[in-house]
Amino acid sequence: MVEIFGVEVSLEPIWLTLEVAAWTTTILLVIGTPLAWWMARMQSSSKIVLEALVALPLVLPPTVLGFYLLIILNPNGYVTEFLRFFGYEGQLTFTKQGLIVGSVFYSLPFAVQPLMHAFEAVPQKLLDAAATLRAGILDRFFSIVLPLSQRGFLVAATLTFAHTVGEFGVVLMLGGNVPGETRMVSIDIFDHVESLEYDQAHILSAMMLIFSLLVLMLVYGINRRFGVKVG
């Protein structure tokens, strides 16, 4: 608990939110990169199905996504059973880990789509040239594709992070409201408002507003610098 303008506020939800968002972003960049690369190079018509699947969280109400995740990840469900087999002992609902899993699904399109578009923009000719210069597949990816997709990565990371910070529905369905474990800042603000603690809600909201603005300004600033250098 800290005191800001004479009001007692717990900053725990903020730290938790940032932690979940950081994990989600890291995981999604790791998983999203090969997925986006695969999709960018895909030529068969099944690409449409995959693109639709990835974009699904954009249109689906977060509560629907959260509901299905709640069902799938329930402690007696197949997924948890499967993880138990490998010695996993926790559970995925109403825990931080569960929240991260949920956020990964929820923010998937925000990581995959910018990456896919960045990868599609890398001319095939450059990859052909690299191949004739004896670069193998991974070599080509790291020496040509990655550096030419820097902006895509920047956009993907920011959007994923920001989107995860702002999530509400999935958290509510899948995480509930366990202090220090799943009570993210959006839920906390909602709680304060519900209990008519407008002062706390004001302070947290203002902090989120300033934080979001600063992050976005930082990103656009960097983006601009890159823009001049690369383009």
């Binding site: 040239a129 210069l133 004896r134 020496s143 030419l148």
Partner: protein
């Protein structure tokens, strides 16, 4: 002699490459010639392994590059490839582009001489530039240097001059000739410009509708009156000779015991040069005329007469040193001079241009 031998198939959308059997000597310059859409680029991509869907067979010297569905990856074929618009890596400087090739040389491979290549190609002073600050010609020079730095067994160039203006084109052709002479690497070269073929080719692979129509030497290709190399200027002959020091403001070109005089005295970087003579610039005389402004008179023997329609005849001649020359005359003149195969006469050449 080592050869590139195979039969390749590749389907790309509506287009289908079906090369048929081919065997190309790995020596000098082999030009893939044909209209756009004839399959030149597809064949070159299939040969260099850039398309995984290639089928068929391909043997390079003793190595198997393609066997049915099995494709040797391009990075294992030791090919230097120069693309139409250079395909330099935009996020690297010129030097980094060149080092990209050098760093990936197989262990124990002969190290190419970086300084020599960079100097010969003429980019030694541009190494630290970003590639986006180069002109089209400079980009192609870097691309050629980069390809050479892979110590290739085979060079492939896909219309490397098509994006350049005429001056850059002429310089690049000279450069390509010098490079080939210096490093002796066989070259597969795509173009649809007859002038480039006449300048560079040792042999020509004529492509049509996704297949190889025929493979001919330049001389064979230029000896048929319906050669696809002839455009609206009509039949063309290419003569080769040793260039000499400039005399009387003219450039002498030695062909056997005879000399051809060129009015083009621009600097030459090599002694063996090709010149291009249009059939319609060649006249025939039964005796050697003395009082004439035309200076190039070569004695020749008539090989055949080919009617061209519109009362014109194409006369194929053999010069003293064995080279062939076309002359275009009217049927009326042919009758009047009683030109028949075997006749000895003089070819008067009104204008000669360096091939480029």
């Amino acid at each position: 002699m080592t050869t590139l031998r195979g039969n390749l198939r590749l389907k790309l959308g509506n287009f289908e490459l079906n090369s048929g059997d081919f065997e190309l000597p790995l020596q000098g310059v082999t030009v893939l010639f044909g209209r756009s859409g004839s399959g030149k680029s597809t064949l070159l991509r299939a040969i260099s392994g850039l398309d995984k869907n290639t089928r068929g067979s391909l043997h390079f010297a003793g190595q198997v590059w393609q066997d049915g569905k099995k494709t040797l990856a391009p990075q294992r074929r030791h090919i230097g490839f120069v693309f139409q618009d250079a395909a330099l890596f935009p996020h690297m400087t010129v030097r980094q582009n060149l080092l990209y090739a050098l760093k990936r040389l197989p262990k124990g491979a002969a190290q190419p001489d970086f300084d020599d290549i960079v100097t010969r190609v003429g980019i030694a002073d541009k190494l630290d530039r970003g590639v986006n600050f180069l002109s089209g010609g400079e980009k192609q020079r870097v691309a050629i240097a980069r390809a050479l730095l892979t110590s290739p067994q085979l060079l492939c160039m896909d219309e490397p001059l098509s994006a350049l203006d005429w001056r850059a084109k002429a310089e690049m052709l000279t450069l390509i000739e010098e490079v080939l002479q210096a490093y002796k690497i066989p070259l597969l070269y795509i173009t649809h410009a007859p002038a480039e073929v006449e300048r560079l080719a040792d042999r020509i692979v004529f492509m049509q509708q996704g297949g190889i129509e025929r493979v001919e030497t330049l001389q064979q290709a230029l000896s048929r009156p319906d050669s696809p190399l002839f455009d609206d200027e009509g039949a063309v002959s290419v003569l080769e000779g040793e260039s000499q020091e400039i005399e009387h403001g003219l450039r002498p070109l030695k062909m056997g015991n005879r000399t051809l005089w060129l009015s083009d005295i621009s600097e030459l970087h090599k002694s063996r040069v090709r010149v291009r003579v249009l059939a319609r610039d060649v006249s025939l005389a039964l005796s050697d005329p003395q009082h004439l402004s035309i200076i190039n008179h070569l004695s020749a023997r008539v090989l055949e007469l080919i009617p061209e329609g519109q009362h014109r005849m194409l006369v194929r001649l053999q010069l003293e040193d064995g080279q062939k020359l076309f002359a275009e005359i009217t049927e009326h003149s042919a009758r009047r001079l009683e030109i028949t195969p075997g006749l000895e006469l003089f070819a008067l050449i009104k204008s000669v241009a360096l091939a480029e």
